[in-house]
Symmetry: C2
Subunit: 420 residues, 2 copies
Amino acid sequence: MTAHLLTIGDEILIGQIVDTNSSWMSRQLNLQGIQVTGKSSVGDTRAAIIDGIKNAAAKADIIIMTGGLGPTKDDITKKTLAEFFDSDMQFHQEVFDLIAAYFTKVGRKMPESIRDQATLPSKATILHNKVGTASGMWFDQENKVYISLPGVPFEMEYLMQREVLPRIKDKFPGNPIVHRTLLTAGEGESAIAQRLDVFEDTLPEHIKLAYLPSLGQVRLRLSGFGDATVAGRTEAELQEQLDQLKQTLLNLLPDLVYGQEEESLPKVIGNILLAQGKQFGTAESCTGGYVSHLITSIPGSSRYFPGTVVTYAYELKTKLLGVRPETLLKEGAVSEATVREMAEGALDTLGVDVALAISGIAGPDGGLPDKPVGTVWIAVADRHRTIAEKHIFGRDRLKNIQLTGIYGLNLVRRFLLGMV
Amino acid sequence: MTAHLLTIGDEILIGQIVDTNSSWMSRQLNLQGIQVTGKSSVGDTRAAIIDGIKNAAAKADIIIMTGGLGPTKDDITKKTLAEFFDSDMQFHQEVFDLIAAYFTKVGRKMPESIRDQATLPSKATILHNKVGTASGMWFDQENKVYISLPGVPFEMEYLMQREVLPRIKDKFPGNPIVHRTLLTAGEGESAIAQRLDVFEDTLPEHIKLAYLPSLGQVRLRLSGFGDATVAGRTEAELQEQLDQLKQTLLNLLPDLVYGQEEESLPKVIGNILLAQGKQFGTAESCTGGYVSHLITSIPGSSRYFPGTVVTYAYELKTKLLGVRPETLLKEGAVSEATVREMAEGALDTLGVDVALAISGIAGPDGGLPDKPVGTVWIAVADRHRTIAEKHIFGRDRLKNIQLTGIYGLNLVRRFLLGMV
């Protein structure tokens, strides 16, 4: 069973927003064994929308459209859908009541234009939206399904989970696709590929390995494509094959793999801290609170993370972390000596068992002859020892901050596990 | 002149990565007056790639492909391009030397598989990549241009800026498209649309207004579509028309607009702080350093931002910010009294003129009968006064953190400008 995702809206084509919906939808569809074979984006014109739908329908069984359903005037999707499915438009009192209830709930006055939102093509099965004002629509035509959803991510997610995925499951019980993902940090795609050369050659036809690089990390994804009618390729057999291959990968790359599937470095570190019963905190200069933000993005992080000090200014490094003024004067803020004192000072200031300290030159300016932009010192300390390492990243400020976050957290992980 | 963007790779279709390239490329092409009329994504198979190229070529003059050029085995783009353009493959010594130089520069050993990276279709004009190992390729065929670029964002950006955009400018001097964007916070799309109803009705045919909502914000984008041969629609005339319309919008929404174009709330606040010669800091609980991260993402923020304390734990609120234990005991951490004491305490702890304090329940757990998940108190203080406001957001942790960041920064902006 295949799906095609079609995003509608000039805002995508003009590049003013990044399409995060498609990747979320793809993952959800994959979990139901539905393969997304294509995605496309078209602008807010009748001709482009109709062309987009026709192209999508030529390639897939399920066509999911997002966007083009808001209350403002740049939205013509609904009318075009009515035309495409040869349907008239119909006012739905129950949809209007739902929208009115939504406005009451969020405590805002309902604008006049909202009435249009309750007028929908009569051939559509309406997917009721309780978290916004644009209804989803479901059309059946010639063994294919066409679904239209609002583009606001949490409204789309609500409708997918509550209305779309259960209906798709009923209508299309498909062939299984099974994935296993391992998360690595510390090596590039080519180097990993070289270590996995023999492994890849032994993979059966129906199992693929993909390398998904991102800043400072590479995800390794094994995908098995099943067929319920073929021996050795049922879902249960696939699951078992992939579990074995995953274990083989773990044995081949013990130094690089930090987690699996939907885990993240902050989550992995949180679990280690909970298991070890330790409190952790950060003292950040060039990352400006980014590492703290990563850690506290994890629900329940208050159990192991009391807090952070961000000390951009020299004076705060001394006042809040006890870094000696002579260290700053002699070695500079971006130095092994300073970052060690920051980490050790943070243990007391924050009252934690383990602390991460970071000081660097994020850029784009501020480099020195012996310390170019991108130079970062990272230290991890507990009551017994402090380790420090230096990195030289690039010239892009945000990338430097993010890379430092990943390398810093990976150093904490290895410190906690006794690997450094 | 039109362009179509084609991303190649299962990693996009399976949803394991979000496509940020397309939006960046669209913006760059738009700045050159090239309209992106469509985007699509296909998987890593010969048939899908060929089908994708044919569809794209049927709709646009410039076809830009990204992805499918890495050194690992899931990449077949290059061979398929050679087939599509009826070209043989050719080893390029100068490309190989460039890749070798790249590995030397980043200090890594060159894997064997890299040799393949220097073998390219002979009909391609090679776009030399000095920041990675995959070359870009440029094919001319029947008045259309086909460009293939690596999918790693900074490699793609490097090649676009250095190789692709200058060549496109030479080859296709096109009609102008001009944009103006205003950034608003504090009202939803429908409410703004209602206030702009009359304004929209007076817009000429060739100028469009779009609403681009995102978390807590709405961007308003005016787009003018020019034609160098039509009076009133030359680029200079468009620029003037849009400037006037932008001013009208500013007059219609003085309370909502915080900035323009590529500005951001942290940038706008930074500029106000610099103009007023003030130092600013944050004391964060539920946002966990996110606001600090936003502020310090701006280059040069160290001039007005000495630092932050993140006080997740009660004890740190008292120790680092001087919040009285009896306040925490009587009112709780998420209360007007606590957040006011945090803001006032931060003035001294961080040595700043203005401080933002935040305390809330980010969720998904931790709600109380009188304080549901999503309850957030925000305060801003200087030496003369402290103001505080309460918000009740939703149940999603990350969304609550991000919304709190936007509302918090917007309160700081209005505080600095004397609007509250």
